[in-house]
Structure formats: C-alpha cells, structure tokens
C-alpha cells in the first residue's frame, strides 16, 4: 500500500462538488455573523455605541469589548490579542464588534448604525522603524515593540570573520503577502449551556480547543471542535483566527448557532505572511569554504504576536542555510507594527530566509569567480555534519536534491543570447533546509469491528494535501488490511484523539508513526486472540489482507472477533518528540528531522519589458519514503507553482495601514499561464526509509533560483521580493548608467 499512487479517498466528492467544506455548513436556526472592523491603524476607542444597531429587525445580538472577561485574550506564548478590541485598536481591520443576525442584509444594516469614535494615535508600519527610539509603542509590556528576540550563538564570530579572505554583507527583503486559500476562514459556534461546539476551517483543532477553554473558563472536554475538509490552508489556518470571536458571539444568542464566513477583503486583514528584512554577513575563504555567518532578521509581526513567538525562533533556525559554516550568530526579532497579524505562510519563514541565503550564495560565487552550482556542492551539509545548533545531521540529502534539480534542467547551456528581440536566458539554483516542529504529539485510535472494517480516528486535517489518504495507506500496510476496509474519521475533538497541528509538513511523519504504533498494538492483540484458534504461537503469525496468517492456515480479522465473542477491538498509538534549543545560545536539537528541497530554474528575460518567463523548472524534495508517489509529486509541483507567487507577483501594499489591494484582481496569484513551460519534480528516498512530509520543500528555493537565473541572464541582482518587471528594468537602467 505504501508506495502506491491510489487516488485521494474522497476523489468522487471532490470532482462532483459534494465535499462538505465549512462554507456549506447549515445548522438549524443558524444565524449569520458579521464582523465590524477598525478603520484606524492605531487609536483609542472612545465609544462603541450599539444602541441603534440593536433596533434593526433581524439583529439578534451584538458583541463588543464590553462583553469580554479578563481572560478574553489569546496568542501563542503572548496573550495580547483580544477576542474583539477592548479599548484600543492597533490595525486597520481589527475586529471591534460582531453582529449575529437572521440575514446578512440585517447585519450589514446594523453595521452602519454602530457608532464608533476613535482617538487617533501615531502609528508605525515598518518593522525597523518600529524599533527606533521615539516610535509609537503598541503594547506597553514591550516598549520598544520587540516582543521576541531569538538568539543563536555558535563559535567565535570575530575570530572567524578575521580568518575570512572576503566578507559579504547583503540585505534581502520580502513584503507582506496573503496565504489566499480559495476557501476563506469560516467558523460556526453554538453553546448548549456551558458546552461549546465549534465547526471551523482550522489546521489545529486541539489548539482551538485549548484556547477556547482558557478564554471561557471551561474544561477542554466541554469544547468540541469539528473540522471538515479544508479548501486550502497553507499556514493561514494554522493558528487561532476567528474561533474566539465566533464562540463569544454565540454566547449571546441563546443557544442559536452563528456562522462567520470571511470575505476575500477580510482575509487580507486576518493573517499575512511576515514581511521580513534579512541581513546576512558572510565570511568566505579563497579556497571556497565559509568561515562565519551573522544573520539579523527583522520580522514584521503586525499588531499582535499571534503565532510569531513560535515562528520567530523557527525563522532563526531556518535562516542559516544548508552549508558548513564554523561560526554562526543569529538574531531574530519579532516586532510589533500597526499592520494585521502575521502568521505562517507555506514554507513558513523559510520562504523569506531561503530567499536571503540562496541569493547571497550566487552573489558570493559570482564575485569570487566560482561556479554557483559547484560552490554549493562543495559546502552542502552531508549526514554526520553538525549544524549551527550543535545537533548532528542525519539522513540529509541536500547534495542529491540539488544534483537531481540541476539534472532535471537538461544539458547545461551557458547564458546564450537568443535571437534578436527574444530576451536572454539564464539558469539559477536554490536549496532549502528547514526544521519542523521540535516538540509535538500525535495520537491515533483504531477500531476494528467484527465485519472486518477498520476505522481510523485521527485529528489530522485533510486540507487537500491528501493527509487522510496517506494515513489510510499507512494503516493498510502496517495492519495488513485492504484499503477498502478502512474508514477515516476526524478531526472531531469529541471522538478523535490529540494531535498538535496539521502544519510544518509534520503529519506524515508524526501522525504516520502514531498510526503505525496503533497498528502494532492491534496486530499484537489479534495475534493473541488468534493464536489458540490457529494453534500457532503469536510470534509466528503475520497479517495479510485482513487475515491473520499462520503457516498453513489463516483466519479473517472479523472471524477472530466473532470467535472470541467480541464486537470490536480498540487500540491506540502515540508518537511524540520533545526537543528544543537553549533560549540564550540557540544550542540543542531543533527538529526531529530536516526538510530538504532544491530547485533549478531556466528563465528568459525580455530586456525591453523586464518580463521574466520561466522556461524550465526542475525541483526535488527529500521524502524519506514516499507513501503515494503521484500525490507526492503533486505536492512538489504545487509548491513550485505556489512559490512563483511570492517570487514574481505577490505583495500586499499598505497605505497608512490600509491594504490597497485586498482582492484577487489587484493582488495576483499564479494562474495556469504563469507556470513554467516545462516543470518537472522528483522525490528523493533513502534506505533508512523514514516517512517525511513534503508539503513545503520545493517552495522556498523558487524565488532565489529565479533571481539567480535572472542575474545569470542579464547581470542584475534583485534583492527585494517580488521580482517584478519594473524592478528588473530599473536595475538594468542603473547598471547601464556608469
């Protein structure tokens, strides 16, 4: 079963449009929810008067800061974000009130009648401006707006820089961007006394449960979180979003459920990709080796810490790159500004950091007269090397990934001039090294019934990545049952066991191992129960196709239960890792395994228009052991295509904190016309055969590979994303001017 390209289990529902996304949810007596949002980037709230709005026919209740208790604040690590704003707003789009009504029309009419008075405060939008003396403070607890400073200290930087023949210092920037899942954030909540049920398009049901139980002061078990299949997540649904607001709203509607579905414009102020400015100072020797690297990262976290207290340290680890460098220091700063909160964006933080370190690789190679590919090959980590955290690297295959990508482009062709008027061609490469979640836990439960059917209860979220199909295949193989005998249920925190999150490409590995453990217990139980029936000791039995098999005889799982007078068997499995880094030095173990990916691009640049065409792109990811080859390849391809967005077109433009392009007309994401003329990708496997997730591996290399190919083609270097035609033309003009 593992290694077979079965179609997604619910393919039929996917092509007939019958998959039950959150957006389709209808409950009896359901009300429609509408969020009233701040129009100011930073202000004291002098008045939020809902008297007139409440008179609108069809309006059932309105939630404001006045309804909130002292615990109505949340955030991963720093609980700074109110369910709605209480006495101050800190970004345009921040929820100030919510309306529950019989119809959207009624809610919209009521919205116009809510009287909000602001007392404007000075605002700051740029992360580096926000840490200057005299900048407005967003949260009094962090007067300089730095809410997180993650540090890595490895080796003596001064000594190591002194040993360098050449030192390079470059700054690379990425703008805020939008995850832009086609399905927006949708949550519905309903109270039954002190019990809360929430249906939500979330990647992290148990995080939702914990947060809501803390906010409302009820037991976690009193909160039931149900997650239907998602219409895309990409990190944007990876943390708490509108669930607290939906639940607080529903507390005021006398047990009637309320559903909130965000508009596309609201999506742009709900979560963004961190804007980042990353400075790399790198020392190299003439023999082509590194001596030192100092990385300084400024992450624009927006107005609330959100997931950033976890992501800023992750970004630190992910900023160093996959090369042997004896001395490394990193300072990663999470900074408040008056923009919407930032969160994970597919390839979280690596999308920004890989842009920086892989761009600089080519800058160094070109200046030193080295071949960029050879320079990388010479320095890439191999198994047994030690990373800047001090941890030993095992099962790393960066060299194979890069080799495979480069090979995928075909025979090397130097940047040859194309026929007149057709632009210039160039090639470029990128490699990515990314950690996954250091400390997390997955549990799985299996139920076998006497008809031989197996139900897997899992809280892995199916968001298009094929997580449920993968788990079914793992179950089929580990338990020895046909795929057709397996049914998957979840996530539903009332009946499916704990899982930390479906993100950071962790599920295939973490949940996969929990499923394997559950299958192991189930097999053991089946062997015990069938040994007397088969007159064979348990250790000489095996399972196959839903049967326990002895040398000469066999018995079906169903019959084993029946012969033992059992209706069902239940077994559970768990897998967890507990790793981490020293907060002062960044030394320790940062990840259970490394995410590894590479890409190679051949581009054509039209020097008249600045237009870049991706002629060929070849990507590789390390997958350990591939569960479903065609689905894995689709992840690889999809990542490259997704990655073209931040590389070439995506940027939320804010003006005074107001997004100016919060729609898919003015904010472009890649269309079928933008994909490479030729796109190939492969998954690399290893003998050790650990299953890895691959939901992000080939994305982060895209932008630097393209920028490097552009420099190869036309000799200009772009350091700020996205790489637009205007930037290329400007760079060409600057280059031609002495």
């Amino acid at each position: 079963m593992i290694g077979e390209s079965v179609p997604m289990l619910d393919s039929l529902a996917r092509v007939t449009g019958t998959l039950d996304y959150m957006i389709n949810l209808r409950l009896p007596n359901m009300l429609v929810g509408k969020i009233v949002r701040s129009q100011s980037p930073h202000a004291k709230l002098l008045k939020v008067d809902i008297t007139n709005a409440l008179q609108v026919p069809g309006v059932i209740a309105i939630l404001t800061g006045a309804d909130l208790g002292a615990n109505a604040f949340y955030g991963a690590g720093i609980k700074d974000q109110g369910v709605v704003a209480v006495d101050r707003v800190r970004y345009v789009g921040e929820p100030i009130a919510a309306i529950a009504a019989e119809s959207l029309d009624a809610a919209e009419e009521a919205e116009l009648l809510i009287d909000i008075e602001y007392d404007e405060l000075p605002a700051v939008f740029d992360a580096q401006a926000a840490i200057q003396a005299g900048a407005p403070t967003l949260h009094e607890k962090f007067p300089n707006n730095i809410f997180k400073h993650a540090k890595l200290r490895h080796g003596d930087l001064d000594v190591a820089f002194a040993e360098a023949d050449e030192i390079f210092e470059d700054t690379f920037t990425s703008p805020p961007a939008q995850q832009a899942s086609l399905e927006p954030h949708v949550s519905a909540a309903q109270w039954d006394g002190e019990r809360l049920t929430i249906w939500t398009a979330s990647q992290a049901p148990f995080m939702v449960r914990k947060t809501l139980s803390e906010i409302f002061g009820i037991a976690p078990e009193a909160v039931r979180v149900i997650v239907p299949p998602l219409g895309g997540g990409y990190g944007g649904k990876g943390h708490i979003r509108i669930e607290p607001l939906a639940a607080a709203m529903a507390r005021k509607t006398n047990g009637r459920p309320v559903k909130f579905a965000l508009s596309r414009a609201e999506e742009f102020v709900t979560v963004t990709k961190h804007a980042a400015s990353i400075t790399l100072k790198t020392g190299v020797k003439r023999d082509g080796t590194f001596t030192a690297r100092q990385v300084t990262l400024y992450w624009n976290g927006g107005a609330y810490a959100d997931a950033s207290p976890l992501l800023v340290p992750a970004g630190m680890v992910r900023s160093v790159g996959p090369y042997r460098i004896p001395a490394v220091h990193v300072d990663s700063y999470g900074i408040y500004t008056n923009l919407p909160p930032a969160g994970a964006y597919r390839g979280a933080m690596s999308s920004q950091t890989t842009w920086a370190y892989e761009s600089q690789m080519d800058i160094i190679a070109r200046k030193m007269g080295w071949d960029p590919l050879e320079f990388r090959m010479k320095n890439l980590f191999v198994s047994g090397d030690r990373f800047a955290t001090g941890e030993e690297l095992r099962d790393v295959h960066f060299v194979e990934c890069l080799e495979a990508s480069a090979k995928g482009l075909g025979a090397p062709s130097s940047p040859a001039l194309l026929p007149e008027g057709e632009g210039k061609r160039g090639r470029g490469y990128g490699v990515m090294m990314k950690s996954t979640v250091a400390t997390s836990k997955s549990q799985a439960r299996l139920k076998l019934t006497d008809d031989g059917m197996v139900t897997l209860f899992t809280s892995t979220v199916e968001m298009g990545q094929g997580g449920h199909t993968t788990m079914a295949q793992i179950t089929a193989e580990a338990l020895g049952v046909p795929l057709s005998a397996i049914k998957i249920i979840g996530p539903d925190t009332a009946i499916t066991p704990f899982d930390s999150t479906t993100s950071a490409s962790r599920s295939t590995s973490m949940m996969g191992n929990a499923v394997v453990a559950a299958c192991g217990s189930m097999r053991k139980k089946l062997f015990e129960l069938s040994a007397p029936l088969l007159e064979t000791p348990p250790d000489q039995l095996r399972t196959k196709n839903g049967f326990v098999v002895a040398n000469e005889t066999s018995i079906s799982f169903g019959d084993i239960l029946k012969r033992n007078n059992l209706n069902e068997l239940n077994e559970a499995g768990e897998y967890s890792t507990s790793l981490g880094l020293d907060p002062e030095t960044g030394q320790g173990v940062s990840t259970p395994h490394w995410h590894q990916g590479a890409g190679a691009a051949e581009v054509k640049v039209d020097t008249e228009t600045g237009r870049v065409t991706i002629l060929r792109y070849s990507a590789a990811s390390f997958a350990g052991r591939v569960v479903n080859p065609r689905m894995a390849q689709l992840q690889n391809d999809g990542n490259v295509i997704f990655g073209l967005g931040p590389a070439l077109m995506e940027e939320i433009v804010f003006d005074g904190g107001q997004p100016t392009n919060p729609n898919l007309a003015d904010y472009s994401i890649p269309s079928i016309r933008d994909i490479p003329v030729e796109l190939t990708s492969i998954c690399i496997e290893s003998d050790e055969g650990e299953m890895h997730g691959i939901g992000e591996m080939t994305l982060p290399p895209v932008a630097p590979a393209i920028a490097n190919a552009i420099e190869d083609a036309i000799g200009v270097r772009i350091k700020d994303l996205p790489i637009t035609a205007e930037k290329i033309l400007r760079a060409l003009r600057e280059k031609s001017q002495p």
Binding site: G17, A180, S181, L230
Partner: protein, 149 residues
C-alpha cells in the same frame, strides 16, 4: 422568476442577487464556490447556454430563460462525466475548491474546441485559479478528457 438549472425548472424569488447566491443559498447547489467575488478566480464558473460565466458577476435575473449547468448537472445516470473522470485519473486537484469551476470551464472549452492545443488550454483556463497549484495535472486532465469527450 424561473431558472432552468441542470435540466429542471426552479422557481426562485425575484431580487437583485447574483446567480452564485441563488444557486448556493436557494437551490442548495453548493458545488459552485465563491473564491473572490470579483470575477477573477473562476471558482464560481457555471455554464449559461454552454458558455462559461462567473456566477458571482451575473445576476440571477439576467439568466432567466437560459440553460444553466452546474457541476451537479454533469453526471449522467450515475456515471461521472468524462472530464470528471479525467480529473481523477490525472490527480488534477488537491483541496478541490477550484475543481468544479475548472471542470465546467473545461467542458465549455471542449464544446468550442474539441481538440485544443496545450497553449489554447492555458489561454482558456487562465481565468480559473488554483491556489494549491494543481495546474500541471489539470493540463494533463484536459488533454486526456478531450480524447474521451
């Protein structure tokens, strides 16, 4: 007013609502999705007299008297439409939020041009967005479907 959807007549309330709203909210045909609301993503694509139309841009009253086809109307006698089957065979979706729109655009394309080139497919489908990035397999699915349709 009366709408002809998937071969049957439906009485719906008058009013200035989009076709998308009426299909989803009144008729419960939730296969059609909203992705952007401004005609840019194609998730709301339906066929009106065989032509692909963004359901989010057109008012229901504008399509009175026309034949509307949604993804729910593609199956015949419990059999998947060949385009739907091709999408499965080529693994042409991930989250599948975009899939009904792509399938209907493909149906319109193959009506107009039964033997499209790869470039023509890219051109025709450029109004449908897939954030998961399944385009490569969508291309293959369309090529496979046209051999069958």
């Amino acid at each position: 007013m009366i709408l002809n959807v998937n071969g049957s007549r439906h009485e719906v309330q008058e009013g200035t609502r989009t076709l998308l709203e009426v299909l989803r909210d009144d008729l419960g045909l939730v296969g059609t999705k909203e992705g952007c609301g401004v005609g840019m993503c194609g998730a709301c694509t339906v066929l009106v007299d065989g032509r692909p139309i963004s359901g989010c841009l057109i008012l229901a009253e504008q399509v009175v008297g026309k034949e509307i086809l949604t993804v729910e109307g593609l199956e015949k006698n419990g059999q998947l439409h060949p385009i739907q089957q091709a999408f499965i065979d080529e693994r042409a979706f991930q989250c599948a939020y975009c899939t009904p729109g792509f399938i209907l655009s493909t149906a319109a394309l193959l009506n107009e041009n039964p033997n499209p080139s790869e470039d023509e497919i890219r051109e025709y489908l450029s109004g449908n967005l897939c954030r998961c990035g399944s385009y490569q397999n969508i291309l293959k699915a369309v090529l496979r479907a046209h051999q069958r349709v």
